[in-house]
Structure formats: C-alpha cells, structure tokens
C-alpha cells in the first residue's frame, strides 16, 4: 500500500488509514453468525441435483456391460432413438424419391404430352384385378426384386401397354420419351412401395400400442409417424402412381385411416374413437391389402 499514496498530500495517508479502519469496523461489518447449515443444505441439494444430472450416463453403463457380455439388452432410450432415426431415414428416402419422380414427371410429362398425348390412357388398365408387384417379387421363391431381371419379351419398350406395372424397381436409362415415361412411372412406383411399407409399419405400430396399454407417448409417436406417411400418401394419390384405380383406392383408404390416427392420437382416445379407427382398418381390409401390395423382400432393402 506504500505506492498508493505517492501523489497524495502528507495528511492524506493518515486520513485514508482512519477511513479504512472505520470502514473495516463499521461498513457492512460482520454481525451475528454465518448461517452455515442453512446455506449448506441448499448447496448440498444443488450438488445432488448436479450429480443426478450425470446419473443417466452412469445408468447406461450396466446396459453397456450387458451388451459386452453378450446379452441382448438395449436401453429403451437407445431403442427410441434408433426408431426415430429409422423413421427419419425412411421419410427422407420417400421424399427424395417423390421429388425425383415428380421431376421426371414434369420433364418428360411435358414432352410426352406433345408427342404422345394418349400415353396415360394406354398405361392404365381398364379393370385391374390386383396390384401387380414389381417383377418377380411376390410369388417366386426368391423374393428380392431383380433390376432388369425379367424376360426380354416383357421389356416395357416392347409391350408397355399390357405390362405397365411390372417394371423393375431400378429403372434402366431412358433412351427415348417412352422409356423416360416408363422410368418416371417406375420411380413413382418405387416411392409408392416405400410409402406402403411405411404405412404398414405405422398401422402395425398403432395396433401394437393399442394392444399394449395405450401409452400416450407411444401413441403420439405413432401419430407423428402417421403424419409423415400421410403427407407422402397424399402426394402419391395425385401422382401417376395414383392413376392405377386399385392403387388409388388403397391410397385413399390409407389416407382416411392415417388421418384418423393423426387427428385422434393427439389426445387420449375414447373407446368410440378407437372403434372408429379399428373399424376403418378392418372394413377396408387395409393391412392385408398393404401387405399384398408391398413386394416381399422390399422391407430389407
């Protein structure tokens, strides 16, 4: 403190010392006792909360050990996270497929309108009896769709009117407008298949939630999932994939049920509301139709 008074008057140091002593003794001077225990109870409570914030990490450890030991224990949080990632991946894939399909449709649809004005009418069978799965997918012993794996006589370029929906999932490079239109249709169909697979999963999940206690969080998750699939379904209804009457009917029924799930699952369901959804699914035979429309083996792609 000696260098603090270099420029001061001689008496300033004395005054400063008096002021300092007076301040130390009287300005907000300690009085009474320190409330140690009261403060410590607050501090220890805050510390416990802070430690509890770290606890979930420690709680995962036993599960991680179980995995290391070979037992198939996966924490619920991890399962939910995985399921969410899968949903988003599927949604992104569907959206990308639809965008690509619409881009093809816009580009080649305009051209085909100028050169092949009756193309659409030719492509749509008058009385389809069933939804044709992709080539070689549903009935053969080898369920995986084989791109370009069909017989040469069934090439879409050679017979587009009679086999409009038997295209392989992966299109060949279009060489002319007809093949470009076929490629667009194939993309629409691929997007439709993905959407139907998603829809089947949503409906199955919804029924699972219904059957196992109707957990509100799981119900809301199903509703969010249904909302994503509903958007894709509505896009597909107005796409070339919806020109197939049978597919369009399936999309329309699916839209109705998904919309019901979305609307009703945000709040606790009444029995009548649950019956409404169940009846809509049952009357329309929705899940079996979805399963028959989705080629076997597509779920693993």
């Amino acid at each position: 403190m000696t260098d603090d008074h270099m420029n001061d008057q001689p008496n300033d140091a004395i005054q400063d010392e008096r002021i300092r002593a007076l301040a130390a003794g009287h300005y907000n001077a300690p009085d009474g006792s320190v409330p140690r225990d009261a403060m410590w109870s607050q501090i220890s409570a805050a510390r416990r909360v802070a430690r509890a914030g770290v606890a979930p990490v420690a709680a995962i450890a036993p599960a991680a050990e179980a995995v290391e030991q070979g037992t198939d224990v996966i924490p619920m949080a991890s399962r939910r996270r995985t399921r969410t990632i899968v949903v988003w991946r599927w949604s992104a894939a569907i959206a990308a497929g639809l965008l690509l399909a619409f881009a093809f449709g816009l580009k080649y649809g305009q051209l085909s309108n100028t050169t092949l004005p009756v193309k659409t009418a030719v492509n749509t069978p008058a009385t389809p009896k069933r939804i044709d799965p992709p080539l070689g997918a549903p009935e053969g012993p080898s369920p995986s769709p084989t791109p370009n794996g069909g017989e040469p006589s069934r090439s879409p370029r050679q017979n587009p009117a009679t086999h409009p929906s038997s295209e392989p999932l992966a299109p060949s490079v279009p060489r002319d407008l007809a093949s470009a239109d076929t490629a667009a249709t194939t993309l629409y169909r691929a997007a439709a298949v993905q959407t139907l697979m998603q829809a089947e999963a949503v409906l199955t999940a919804y029924r699972g939630v219904e059957a196992t206690g109707r957990d509100p969080q799981a119900m809301q998750q199903a509703a969010r999932w249904a909302r994503d699939v509903l958007s894709s379904t509505r896009l597909l209804i107005d796409s070339p994939a919806g020109r197939d009457p049978q597919m369009r009917a399936l999309f329309t029924d699916l839209e109705l049920v998904l919309a019901q799930i979305v609307q009703l699952s945000g709040t606790p369901l009444q029995d009548s509301e649950r019956d409404l959804i169940d009846r809509a699914m049952r009357d329309r035979d929705l899940l079996p139709r979805l399963r028959s429309a989705v080629p076997a083996g597509s779920a693993t792609s």
Binding site: M1, D16, R18, L22, R36, W40, A46
Partner: protein
C-alpha cells in the same frame, strides 16, 4: 487432511470433503459477500452460488495457488455479477449526486460519522467502491482485484486512488479531528 488432499477428494465427488472445504472458507466468503452487498439475504445467496460454482469447477483448480485465493476470485465474480443483477449500480450512481451535497453540508446536520462514512462509500462509483472495499477493507491485492474485475492492476490502483480522494472529500468535516 490438508487442503490439497481435500480438493483432490472433492474432485472425486467426496461430499464430506466438500463440507470440510466449505467449513474452512464459508465465513470469509460470506462476510465478503455481505460487505459488498450490505444485505444478509444477498450474502447468503452469493455464498451458496460461490460454493456451488466452485465445486462444479473444481476440475479447473490446478493447485498452483491456495484454494482460498481461487475461491475468492470466484467470490468476487459471483458477488459483482449478483450486484449487477439486483441493479444496485444504478441506485448508487443516483446517490452519487447526493454525495457532493453531503460534502458541502454542515457537520451538525449529520453528526454520525459512521453513517456519513457508509453513505460516502455507497455513493462511490461502483468500480471505486468495489476496489476500495476489496483492497483497503478485505486486503486483496491489485492483481487479484484486476483479475476479478476483468481489468488491470493499474486500473485497480487508479480506482482506489479515486475512491480514497472522494471519501476524504466526503468526510472532510471530520479530518481535523482525525489528524489531531
């Protein structure tokens, strides 16, 4: 168990060691907080915040300096930020105008020296007030004050000089008695 061992145990999450460190330093922290705030409720809040923050950041304490010095740097940070939050700065700035009037007022109007001193200290600009209290009353060095306030030791010296000058002026009526 010495302080180094205690801090090592606190780093491992030992609650008993936390309590031991708390008991060793709580009085000093509390009274500094009270000195700066003038209110027991604020001093209590600040003290709790100081120790919670210190235990949370104990990993940052390397042990180069005494734990008390490290703790008091946290104390000053907590207290000053807390005081800003309760907006006492503005109140003191307003009172500063009255400090000049106190200087010119006659001694008989306010005979109580302690009260005059308290008013004069409260009327100081916040930087001067904090520096005066930390240095002259609580015994911190200019380096510690500069670190706590985010300034330099030179700034702290300048603030202290200003604070002392203002207090001398504010208490000039008593100067004759003190010198004698």
């Amino acid at each position: 168990m010495n302080e180094r061992e205690l801090t090592a145990r606190v780093k491992l999450g030992d609650e008993a060691a936390e309590r031991a460190l708390y008991d060793a330093h709580v009085d000093r922290v509390y009274w500094v907080a009270y000195r700066m705030s003038g209110r027991h409720d604020l001093a209590q809040d600040f003290t709790q915040d100081v120790f919670i923050r210190a235990f949370e950041r104990i990993g940052d304490f390397r042990g180069d300096a005494p734990f008390g010095a490290w703790l008091h740097s946290i104390t000053m940070s907590v207290v000053l930020n807390g005081l800003r939050k309760v907006k006492r700065f503005d109140q003191r700035e307003a009172v500063l105008e009255e400090a000049g009037m106190v200087t010119s007022s006659v001694r008989e109007a306010e005979p109580d020296l302690k009260e005059r001193l308290a008013q004069a200290i409260d009327a100081l600009p916040e930087g001067c007030r904090v520096t005066f209290l930390m240095h002259d009353v609580e015994g911190f060095t200019h380096e510690e004050i500069g670190a706590a306030l985010g300034t330099t030791a030179g700034t702290s010296k300048a603030q202290l000089s200003r604070a002392r000058a203002k207090l001398r002026i504010a208490l000039a009526d008593f100067a004759g008695d003190w010198i004698q």
